[in-house]
Amino acid sequence: MSSSAPPAGRPVFTGLGVLSAFGAGPAPLAAATAGGSAAGFAAVTRFDVARRGTRRAALLADPPPLAEAVLGALADACAQSEPPSGAPLLLALHSDLHTREVAAEVARGAAALGLAGVARVYTGACVAAATAVADAAALVGSGRHPRVVVAAGHLVEPGVFAAFDAGRALARDGELRPFSSGRSGTLLGDAAAAVVVEADTAAAARGVRPLARLAGWGRSGDAHHVCRPRPDGAGVARAVRSALARAGVAPSEVGYVNANGTGSPVSDMAEARALREVFGEALSGLPVSSSKSVHGHALEASALLELVVTIGALGSGRLPVNAGWLGPDPEIGLNLVLSGPRQDARPRCALSLNSAFGGANTALLVAAA
């Protein structure tokens, strides 16, 4: 993945495409998240769930094959950014018996769009796409590439659904209630998304106005457990601090957090503690939500889907609602974005957080262009 050395610049987003349970494009997704819509979740009819404890997910009514879904988002992002000719594609997919086949099909489609094929496939669960974005930023920021494209896709399928159900990771009551009292787990969701990460200097040279800046990014490991989060949230806090330090942004400048917020009792608690550690008393005034409560958990695509939501919130000032809320968990103590009238200031900087199996944590800090 080497290239000639173009001038280094700060990473910005110049193209974006998304497919979610609400359809293609960022507009229906933004409307759903800003309104706290529950319409994305429905009974699963795509495959047999009669033996599962949980039977709901956020699904597209008529999903295309996974590679086609990814290529659709990719085409939208590339069209918005003008064809990023020769740019490498970093792709996030679930690791299973079909990964290579899907990646090969995406590579063929990407080549037709003028990209340099799939440079790398990330399979690191729920941080896969965020890891790819961080690497894209590192490649752009260090001058190795003027533009790098990141794409991801996940369509709910019977194997992963059954495994998550057996592992008691899915919400027993069929509702995704991040940070709420009575939360009992997550719900899966369909998504494909793509972004073009470009050096600000390259975008300026093309006369392109960025959608947003990727001001900072951070990654850490919990060093705690195979899949359970470190209870004190120290790993998440380190990732957030790394992102803030890289950006030279003070915690007080962050105006919104799109939290990982899977709806898991222990994971949400650990994340809340991490935010308390980083933001201290200021956390009480910091709007936080998990947009998973609206679009579901898209696993390997989740971080890119939520990044798209976060970029949209920066642009519109309409913060995603933390849906499924039943009431406060006294140990959480977050200023959650709930449905109803709010007086939030339009954020200039926002964090998008993700955590995964293996104790992996990522933080992406997005700033208005």
């Binding site: 194997g159 919990d222 457990h225």
Partner: protein, 185 residues
Amino acid sequence: MNRLRTLATVRWPDGEPPPPLPGFPASTFNPLVAAVAERCLAAHYGEPGPPRRTGLLLASAGGDRATALAIDTAAAGHRMPPLLFFQSNPNAVLGYVAARWQLTGPVVAVSPPEAAAPGEVPSDALELAALLLADGDADHVLVITAEQAEPAAQAGPATQAGPAEAAEATGAADRAAAVLVAAAP
């Protein structure tokens, strides 16, 4: 790029079954990753100690096919063993390694298009390790590659055989290697 200093390198002996890894049934993949990581980390660090800013990067072209097959088979059958959830992603075993050795750097899993030659790690994985080191969230990166022998993937969830029996039954050999790297001065 790819200016790296090698701190330790280990090749898992072809055909030598790794010790069973509690909590990771139905596949040789995770025990193999854990075993080769253990040997490589021990070669440089000696024993697990205080937290280290070491990242973990697993590169496998084939991935954990036995677990993937076990999950698909179980989903089509009557019962999904709960433990398959915990190993449904290659990151999971990295969490085991990180917890045992207190490694707090980034945790990354990738699937290169082609497996590396036996005893080597994919060149793209080394390039990614260099990028991670240059990016600043890790002082060292342990790069692990593991490829499961194709026939072992036929050992579905109903198979109670351990990794040794699976390898013996198929006559195929899993293979793995690991290298611990730092940025070159």
